[in-house]
Symmetry: C2
Subunit: 338 residues, 2 copies
């Protein structure tokens, strides 16, 4: 079985059937433009594509050497994976520069910086917009822009958009992400990065994911037996209801306020925000600064501390995507907190 999937495609390791199902699912859901104006780049998870985008944007021909390493920023709280993946190799091409809101682009001696916008945001589920309007260097991480998490209010048409099978259908273990990229040069350099890092992406994964995406889209055809995104919304609605009840009852935590429900073009009704993660702040009577530690040691609940997301450790991120059994135990344990 060859390295190559499609020698005539700019992304030569992209399987045509996977590509075709990606375009189809975006047409169906209406969450992003994915027509022939966009190059599809497949990656080993969107994590690899995030790095591929940093590489592509920091190796633009003609970029003055003095601009490097290019600062990379994102609004706090931001996904903990961004700083870690950005700085792992201490690259001379780019480096993590923290919160976009406290970043002054003029200090870079030019407009050479990269902003990552995650929306709905990991960890807090809010709908983020770019702080800076230098749109060519924006990376839009749209992993959670699917109807089970948020109303689909428009088809995104940014220059670089990242998606992942993990958050679309739940197949995290397939390690498959895709980027929709407008600019051919950026797309080529992203392909080059994936080529140098892993010589492409598993065909086994791509073929299986194509089958999965096809089944999801088929479910919405006439006579389709199964509506995955409706199922996802149902589960997320139940989980959020249960979590809200237990959190209201014990009064120890505060929730974020989410945007009001909006008309979802895909569900054809007004839908509410059901983020994949709850973002809780401890507000109880105990003198607790490190909420993660408190929940782990006193209540045997595993969360992720706000400090990993660039903010206070009073905050924790709690996954609502665990197995049903795990989620039930979690709710039981949460209800025992006074």
């Amino acid at each position: 079985m060859s390295y190559f999937s499609d020698r005539h495609n700019l992304c030569w390791f992209l399987h045509h059937e996977f590509a075709s199902q990606i375009r189809r699912i975006h047409r169906l859901v209406g969450n992003a433009f994915a027509d022939e104006n966009y190059h599809i780049i497949v990656g080993n998870g969107s994590t690899q594509l995030y790095q591929a985008a940093l590489y592509a944007l920091s190796t633009h021909p003609g970029l003055p050497e003095t601009c490097r390493p290019i600062p990379v920023v994102s609004v706090v709280p931001h996904y903990s994976g961004y700083p870690a993946a950005t700085d792992v190799l201490r690259s001379a091409l780019y480096k993590w520069a923290g919160d976009a809101n406290s970043f002054d682009p003029h200090t870079t001696g030019g407009d050479h910086y990269i902003e990552v916008i995650c929306s709905p945001n990991n960890p807090d589920g809010l709908l983020n917009n770019s702080v800076f309007k230098q749109i060519t260097n924006n990376i839009h991480d749209l992993a959670y822009y699917w109807p089970q998490y948020t109303p689909i209010t428009n088809a995104a048409d940014h220059n670089i958009m990242l998606f992942t099978v993990s958050k679309c259908t739940g197949h995290a273990g397939s390690r498959l992400g895709w980027a929709l990229v407008k600019d051919k040069g950026v797309a080529s350099r992203m392909v080059q990065f994936v080529e140098l890092g892993t010589i492409g992406v598993s065909k086994d994964s791509q073929l299986r994911a194509a089958t999965i995406l096809r089944a999801v889209a088929d479910g919405y055809e006439e006579g389709g037996a199964y509506k995955l995104f409706h199922f996802g919304r149902k589960v997320m609605t139940e989980r959020w209801d249960r979590l809200r009840q237990v959190v209201m009852a014990n009064g120890a935590f505060s929730f974020l306020e989410y945007p009001p429900p909006a008309y979802c073009g895909f569900m054809r009704e007004e839908t509410s925000h059901l983020p994949a993660f709850a973002w809780l702040k401890y507000e109880g009577n105990l003198d607790i600064e490190d909420t993660e530690n408190f929940l782990r040691t006193k209540h045997n609940i595993l969360t992720r501390s706000g400090k990993h997301f660039g903010t206070e450790s009073k905050y924790v991120r709690i996954s609502l995507l665990e197995l049903e059994e795990t989620f039930n135990i979690f709710i039981d344990r949460m209800s025992s907190i006074i």
Copy 2:
């Protein structure tokens, strides 16, 4: 489907069935020690594991900062992927330093450098040994140390050994490699690198590869119907015979001299070297310095120039692992060269 494959394993994204088939195939073939003294790290191809090893060796706790970037060397001609993958992000941790034979370790102010040893070597098929004896920082790329390419004369027991499904069974498109690593700290940091880069490795690929490796090993059990490595040797023998004939006939190229046949513990007979690539030097009557260009433009034969492997462009690397149909066309075209 979760990110995790085995939460109790140091390499938490390694599927236990794939791990078990890896240990079994090494026991069967006898080409490397793969007992419980070795940690198995799975990667998106051995390319990713090469970079994971560089990362692990250059982030050893206590390594003085002044040693970085750590020089990375390999004997010329060396695999073209090494320098490219080493320098892609211009890391402050390590950098490519070229031919091991012309490298003076004393110039690094210490013994901090990494040597990559590929044996049988890509591109030239020779059996390489390490130039330097600082064995803790050696990376042994044993992708081609399988009985279809070379006699298996001993079970390798180096500190870091890289293998890939691609060259073992031919499934390059599965993008699966594995490292056998003695030191727990090195293994942990390699896992961390794969985690930060791609959050693990496709389970789909691992499960399919486990099935493939199981079938290969089953073929050598009593009553087994199919002996893959014997088939591989048969094909490689035929191809080398045909290539030698046509090259001898036209007299335009010289071959390398390979080591004499040796007793292969796996085949239980003396076997010859049948490298995956031919490494040819143009010696014909025309005034040709760039053999790749000559073969491409005049004879429609695609090869890879010696310049990519750190040596003269009089040399080219020719793959003997192509589809039968492609190989037939190649032989036809080679025979037309005078």
